[in-house]
């Protein structure tokens, strides 16, 4: 076994894992916040995430068609695209809640779950329909912004593209803002109050429906931001791309303790790291017997182990006291 190689690629794998982890963390927030207030899993969130990526790619393609891609400064462009993606995904999430979940608020808990799965399929095929009519394409490619592809080659095995740093930076900023919003503002207090006890919160004069919509808006916007960053980082999206990252992010939310916001962030990063290390190291460590294709098996085995010993997730599920 080539120990030098194993050590040599370590920083690169760590970086790959962190990028993936932050992506999962951003998506996982949507699952966990909705679970916090409504105690149900919004399975349509994976499509809300990928809508952000589609809005982003459409804008960038239009900018490129107008010949402005390399003219506009990239931080401005990226900020604009992020804002548009967040707005689209956030509003879509609010609309989905209004149409597909609110009428079922008092139904047994499995009913909105089924509704969510239905919305997920509906959105997938809606994107496919719109894109095939609009662009006659299934796979869409993020236009390459050359300025973002500048690489810092620190060593033969370590190589940091500017793009990855931007993705990590954007994700960190987003998580920070959310953290401050939930913990340091009146709105955040209201969200936490609704999560704790809806009836009591409404007695305190909080507009519960408004707060629930707001939760969907914030969760959706985080998903949309993740979508844009996903597109910028990996480059290729299609209407079904959202499904697998969505599922992984849901797993990350459970891993961190569902309903728990810092838990979702931690869970996402842990899952991203597990996956990256498994994919890069499994075949090196086992001499090719287990290849990169076993990364999910490895990551999920670890997950099961963690959940056996900490059934409420790493940071614990948010416990609600219902009178």
């Amino acid at each position: 076994m080539d120990v030098q190689l194993l050590v040599g690629i370590f920083p690169q794998v760590l970086l790959d894992g962190l990028i993936l982890g932050f992506m999962y963390a951003l998506i996982a927030l949507g699952y966990t916040m909705v679970y916090g207030v409504l105690e149900f899993i919004n399975f349509a969130h994976s499509e809300i995430f990928i809508i952000g990526a589609f809005v982003g790619v459409e804008i960038l393609l239009e900018v490129k068609a107008a010949g402005l891609l390399d003219v506009l400064p990239w931080p401005l462009l990226l900020l604009g695209v992020l804002a548009a993606g967040m707005a689209a995904s956030g509003l879509l999430a609010v609309a989905v809640e209004r149409v597909a979940y609110r009428p079922l608020r008092n139904a047994p808990r499995l009913i909105p779950l089924i509704s969510a799965i239905g919305v997920s399929f509906f959105l997938q095929d809606l994107i496919r329909l719109v894109e095939s009519l609009w662009r006659n394409a299934f796979n869409l490619v993020y236009p390459t912004i050359d300025a973002l592809n500048v690489r810092f080659e620190l060593a033969q095995t370590i190589d940091v593209p500017l793009k990855s740093l931007v993705v990590i930076g954007a994700a960190l900023a987003m998580l920070g803002v959310l953290w401050a919003l939930v913990n340091r503002t009146r709105v955040g207090t209201a969200i936490r109050a609704v999560a704790e006890d809806q009836a009591a919160a409404s007695l305190m004069g909080i507009n519960v429906n408004g707060i629930i919509s707001l939760t969907f808006l914030i969760g959706g916007a985080m998903g949309g931001a993740a979508g844009v960053l996903f597109g910028v980082q990996y480059g290729l999206i299609n209407p079904y791309t959202g499904f697998v990252p969505g599922l992984k992010a849901f797993t990350a939310a459970v891993l961190g303790g569902i309903g728990n916001i810092p838990g979702a962030m931690l869970g996402g990063i842990v899952l991203g790291l597990l996956e990256a290390f498994a994919a890069s190291y499994l075949s090196l460590l086992t001499g090719g017997a287990f290849g990169a294709e076993y990364k999910d098996i490895f990551a999920f085995s670890v997950l099961i182990l963690i959940l056996i010993f900490r059934p409420k997730g790493l940071l614990g599920e948010v416990v609600r006291g219902r009178a």
Binding site: Q12, F138, D159
Partner: protein, 400 residues
């Protein structure tokens, strides 16, 4: 009470429609009958570009050559099926196809992993399948009387690739990635076996179903610094893979099998794949004799360039039509067995060259190419440079 008659009328109409429609079609069929040729290829999803080409190629051939059968009193129709590049969908479609007695031949599929299980279904009724694109050896090595292909084989294609890597590219080491499908892993294994024989060092052999994030796979590749990366798979996965490899600063040369042969490869990967090589068992239209007319007709009718395998699908459909004509000779209704048997007797000089099938359905002489991507403009995919062109007979049939 007042709504009652309206409902009654509706119900009566519905029943009438149910009874009358099939009856009417049977009536029309009594002229002599309808003959249908089915296509099965992915018409939706990431590989739709190639799948659509197969359908359109067959459509063009049928419209052009159905006259002979129509003179005999038959109506000729094309029925396209979408297999979504998924084995389960292909098999479900195949069951629908064999249930429709008017279907006498299938042109398809794109993916060997779909063609192999689906052809098991066709075999139940000896329904002929002519494949324009399935290169996995198993497709014909099962020795079924109804299965044929107009393209080459992966056990040859893999070797063509490794020979090119060794002889022309002169690489010393290779890292092999495949997509874990019967096709991609198959051709990657043939490539690997022969590359090892020729003394090329295989630094890694990895399978992945990943479609977007190749970072963790590329990290060890970059560290091992191979001279060549071979991707056994299809462009919708290969293109983002090569793009990310390029963006990671990997300096290895790229090589792939015929799954890379679609203009979508450069649409997705852009300049990352300019200069890369791919082997093909279906040459670009420009390399084929008599292809000029085909390209013009295709463009005129569908308003776009034919994708790879459209010409093969065209030839496959012509062969199917000829076989049906032969089976219909003497005025009897052609059966599926007759058509399958007749296909093996067809000798046809098509746009992809002289086609004649051997005892297991392989082409007696198949064409193989090595091509180089010349431009990141997808419109110019047809101009890709032919670096090498070979005509190779299939390996001798293993005695059973």
């Amino acid at each position: 009470m007042s709504r009652y008659p309206a409902r009654l009328t509706l119900a009566v109409l519905a029943v009438l429609a149910l009874v009358a429609l099939p009856a009417a079609s049977r009536l029309a069929a009594q002229g002599k009958g309808t003959i249908k040729i089915a296509t099965q290829s992915p018409l939706s999803g990431g590989q739709a570009a190639l799948g659509e080409g197969i359908k359109l190629g067959a459509q063009l051939a049928i419209e052009k050559f159905k006259g002979n059968l129509e003179k005999l009193g038959y109506k000729v129709e094309l029925v396209p099926f979408d297999d979504q590049a998924k084995p389960d969908v292909g098999v479900a479609n195949a069951k629908n196809i064999i249930a429709d007695k008017a279907i006498l031949a299938v042109i398809g599929h794109l993916n060997s992993g779909v063609a192999i299980p689906s052809s098991e279904v066709y075999k139940e009724v000896q329904l002929a399948m002519i494949s324009p694109a399935n290169t996995n050896p198993t497709v014909t090595d099962r020795g079924y009387a109804n299965v044929n292909r107009v393209c080459g084989r992966d056990d040859v294609q893999g070797v063509v690739g490794s020979e090119f890597a060794h002889g022309t590219m002169k690489v010393k080491s290779v890292y092999i990635i495949h997509d874990k499908t019967q096709y991609g892993q198959g051709v990657a294994e043939f490539f690997k076996a022969d590359a090892e024989k020729k003394g090329i060092k295989v630094l890694g052999f990895e399978g992945t179903e990943e479609k977007s994030n190749f970072d963790p796979i590329l990290t060890p590749v970059k560290a091992k610094n191979p001279g060549l990366i071979y991707f056994g798979g299809i462009y919708d996965q290969g293109a983002p893979f090569f793009k990310q490899a390029y963006e990671k600063g990997i300096k290895a040369k790229f090589l792939g099998p015929d799954g890379m042969d679609s203009s979508d490869l450069v649409k997705i990967a852009g300049k990352a794949v300019v200069g890369m090589y791919y082997t093909s068992a279906a040459g670009p239209a420009s390399a084929l004799p008599k292809a000029k007319q085909f390209v013009e007709d295709f463009k005129k009718k569908f308003g776009k360039n034919p994708e790879p395998y459209a010409a093969e699908a065209y030839d496959a459909a012509v062969i199917a039509l000829r076989a049906i004509e032969a089976a219909a000779k003497g005025g009897k209704a052609p059966t599926r067995e007759d058509v399958s048997a007749a296909i093996r007797k067809v000798k046809y000089n098509g746009i992809t060259g002289e086609i004649e099938f051997d005892g297991k359905g392989d082409r007696k002489k198949a064409l193989y190419f090595v091509l180089q991507v010349v431009s990141d403009n997808s419109e110019k995919w047809g101009d890709n440079k032919i670096v090498k062109q070979l005509t190779i007979a299939p390996p001798a049939m293993a005695k059973k």
